[in-house]
């Protein structure tokens, strides 16, 4: 056990910090979920990042990465968030599909899709959920029918983040029409600009159209776009979900930076800060540190050859609940200003606390609801009997 950074790690941090200081846009970019303009601005930022070869530092060099270990990934993320660099518009691609393709994709798929993912040239959406298949994802009905060298997709996908403007999607489809539940499903990549794809923006709680409904009518995709074999979709998606809940989706730095901002907000109230709020601010900072320490421990364990299993579900519960508590504390400090929109003259910190609070409310829902995560922990980590 050695909880000190090596000289190389310290030098790496300095390198990231210097690059970010020079390149991060001074003004925050407009939201990628509110307009095409905001989306494109984020895509342009991904290109800048990629020029510095910072797109995905853990990826092999041939796919646009730097082949770095997970500790360096954490350091990178820390500097990235500390510099208040833009959110990653391609997170579904780089954090979810990327690792999935590296594990299950063919060489041709890796060569075709990964480099453009790293540069942001192709932005990805995840198309798994359906109106009747949310928590119960195995109830997926959208189908893919083999026809010559193609699959023909049809069905109804929903809640697909970024899909309003994204270029590609990875979807879960039933390739065996006779199959039920987890069997007979396949993961298929499709171009969102294909004929037969209709995207309907859905307005979220914050008014932005951060996700979309996708109506698929006879959408043709080349059969080579299947990831893994026919019928392996469930197994592959569960691995993807593991990446999502486990390490990559929510790097700890995000919460450490938010907790630091909360501490400053509290500090600006001086002695007027109520002792109960003071305690809640301390809790927020402690939780952010606990999450970070846990991820460092997991990263070290993975580097030493370990695996991440059902404990990924504990991460997802912890960050989502901590995020809400942190932002709720900020709103309580703001008091009657909490409800103000960013352009209200009296809004504090440009309304970021309200925005962050609303965003945090989605945390216990997406990537598998927290109820489902608790079931997973109980059954797979603790070994309680299935209901």
């Amino acid at each position: 056990m050695d909880l000190t950074y090596s000289e190389q790690e310290i030098a790496f941090r300095a390198e990231v910090r210097a690059w970010m200081a020079e390149h991060v846009p001074e003004e925050p970019l407009p939201s990628f979920d509110a307009s095409r303009e905001g989306f494109d601005a984020h895509r342009a930022w991904e290109a800048v990042l990629n020029e510095g070869r910072w797109g995905m530092v853990t990826w092999p060099e041939e796919f646009g990465g730097r082949g770095l270990d997970l500790i360096r990934w954490l350091i990178f993320e820390e500097e990235y968030y500390a510099a208040r660099a833009p959110l990653r518009v391609n997170q579904n691609g780089i954090f979810l599909l990327g690792p999935t393709l590296m594990e299950f994709g063919t060489e041709a798929q890796k060569a075709r899709f990964l480099p453009k993912m790293a540069t942001g040239e192709e932005i990805w959406a995840q198309a798994w959920s359906e109106p009747q298949a949310g928590s119960d994802l195995a109830a997926v009905r959208a189908k893919a029918v083999r026809d010559g060298d193609d699959y023909v997709l049809s069905g109804h996908k929903i809640w697909s983040s970024r899909a309003v403007y994204a270029d590609w999607a990875f979807g879960l489809f039933r390739t065996d029409p006779e199959s039920e539940r987890h069997r007979g499903l396949s993961l298929i990549l499709f171009d969102l600009n294909s004929p037969g794809v209709v995207r309907q923006p859905i307005h979220q709680i914050n008014g932005e159209h951060g996700f979309a409904e996708l109506i698929l009518e006879d959408v043709r995709v080349p059969a080579e776009n299947i990831v893994g074999a026919e019928g392996q979709g469930w197994k592959i998606c569960m691995a993807t979900a593991g990446f999502e809940r486990g390490l990559m989706l929510r790097s700890p730095a995000r919460y450490q930076v938010a907790a630091g901002a909360l501490a400053r907000l509290a500090h600006s109230r001086g002695d007027a800060l109520d002792p109960v709020l003071r305690a809640r601010v301390a809790d927020a900072a402690m939780n952010a540190e606990a999450y970070a320490l846990s991820i460092y421990a997991t990263a070290s364990r993975l580097e030493a050859g370990g695996k991440i299993g059902a404990e990924a579900s504990t991460n997802k519960i912890f960050w989502s609940e901590m995020d809400i508590a942190l932002h709720e504390t900020a709103l309580d400090i703001l008091g009657d200003r909490a409800e103000l929109l960013p352009d209200a003259p009296g809004a504090q910190d440009a309304g970021t606390w309200l925005d962050g609070y609303l965003f945090a409310l989605a945390g216990p829902i997406y990537a598998g609801t927290n109820e489902i995560q608790r079931n997973i922990i109980a059954e797979r980590m603790l070994g309680l009997p299935r209901g």
Partner: protein, 340 residues
């Protein structure tokens, strides 16, 4: 940066776990406390033989010269086993303090099992096993005093935890062995050690309380099914496990050399909360049995109740953490900051 235990650290922990599994079951504990005792001399001799008492004492003074990270998992195992003998306090707090204070002869006697030193500290005023003590060490921020057993008056203070034989101490004599700044620094050092090792025991209790509840929930049937198949039961235990998962790395980081006092405060809070949630969930999951002394649940609940408040309450520790937050920078790059 390597946040995993080394093979040696892991082996030491397993050695201690093996000893405790053999020699400190809850049946052993019940037998001991039923006989009105809280100290098993044979078991203590076994612990002395293993050399664990002096784990943190330098080799030059007869110890093993190890660091806190080497023994933190041992303290967790002692918590999980509800070990009644004061190994954790002696190993983690008392002997390092005596060594800091230059009490070499006394250190040697304790290591041999020839002396026993009970400690009174501002954060732990009631002492365990004081009647067995040959010496009492009393710390205040102004002075550290070492007294012989005959120089103090003990008043028994019975605890709800049958394995904790507590006393309050009033001094009738003794020699001052450190004063002023030195005493102040010693109080801080020993307080941090006490909090860290209490936290470690709390973590062990938390996991154990979950484990016995899982076993019970798989066995106990209602409505024709094991109660563990019901989601309300699952979610109680899953939430407790989440608390454990995010207390453990804090504890381990708090055991690193130069960990900040704020990190130790955090560990004490997080492990205390995990133990509280886990032991209370254990009561609930066991139903009526959880409210008896027939299952082991109450033993874990009572030890957690005590350890959570001794060596600084949650409020004390949160105030410490908050004070640091208000006076130092906080961000991703301060995660592994060292104590100045």
């Amino acid at each position: 940066m390597e946040f995993v235990f080394t093979e040696e650290q892991q082996m030491m922990a397993e050695m201690a776990q093996g000893f405790l599994a053999d020699r400190c079951t809850t049946a052993d504990l019940r037998k001991l406390t039923d006989s009105g005792d809280t100290f098993d001399a044979d078991r203590w001799a076994g612990l002395v033989d293993l050399g664990l008492l002096g784990a943190l004492v330098p080799e030059s003074a007869g110890g093993l010269g190890l660091g806190r990270a080497d023994v933190i998992q041992i303290a967790t195992a002692c918590g999980a086993a509800l070990l009644p003998e004061p190994l954790v306090d002696v190993m983690g707090v008392v002997l390092p303090a005596l060594n800091d204070l230059g009490q070499d002869a006394l250190v040697a006697d304790v290591l041999k099992g020839a002396a026993h030193v009970a400690l009174v500290h501002p954060d732990a005023q009631l002492v365990q096993d004081a009647p067995r003590g040959t010496h009492i060490l009393v710390m205040t921020p102004e002075a550290v005093t070492l007294a012989g057993a005959e120089e103090v008056t003990l008043t028994a203070q019975p605890s709800i935890d049958p394995a904790r034989a507590l006393s309050s101490v009033s001094m009738d004599g003794g020699a001052i062995i450190a004063q002023d700044a030195e005493a102040f620094a010693q109080v801080a050092r020993s307080g941090a050690a006490g909090a860290l090792f209490a936290a470690a025991q709390l973590l062990g209790i938390a996991q154990k309380a979950i484990d016995i509840s899982v076993a019970f929930a798989c066995e106990r049937q209602q409505f024709g099914k094991p109660i563990g198949s019901y989601q309300a039961i699952k979610h109680h235990l899953a939430s407790a496990q989440v608390a454990v998962e995010f207390a453990r790395p804090v504890l381990h980081a708090a055991a690193a050399p130069a960990a900040t006092a704020a990190r130790i405060a955090h560990a004490k809070i997080a492990c205390g909360r995990a133990a509280d949630l886990a032991t209370r969930s254990a009561v609930q999951v066991h139903g009526g049995m959880g409210y008896t002394q027939e299952t082991d649940v109450h033993l874990y609940l009572k030890r957690a109740l005590a350890l959570r408040r001794i060596w600084g309450s949650e409020t004390d520790h949160r105030n410490r953490y908050a004070a640091r937050l208000e006076t130092s920078a906080f961000g991703p790059d301060t995660l592994f900051a060292k104590e100045a």
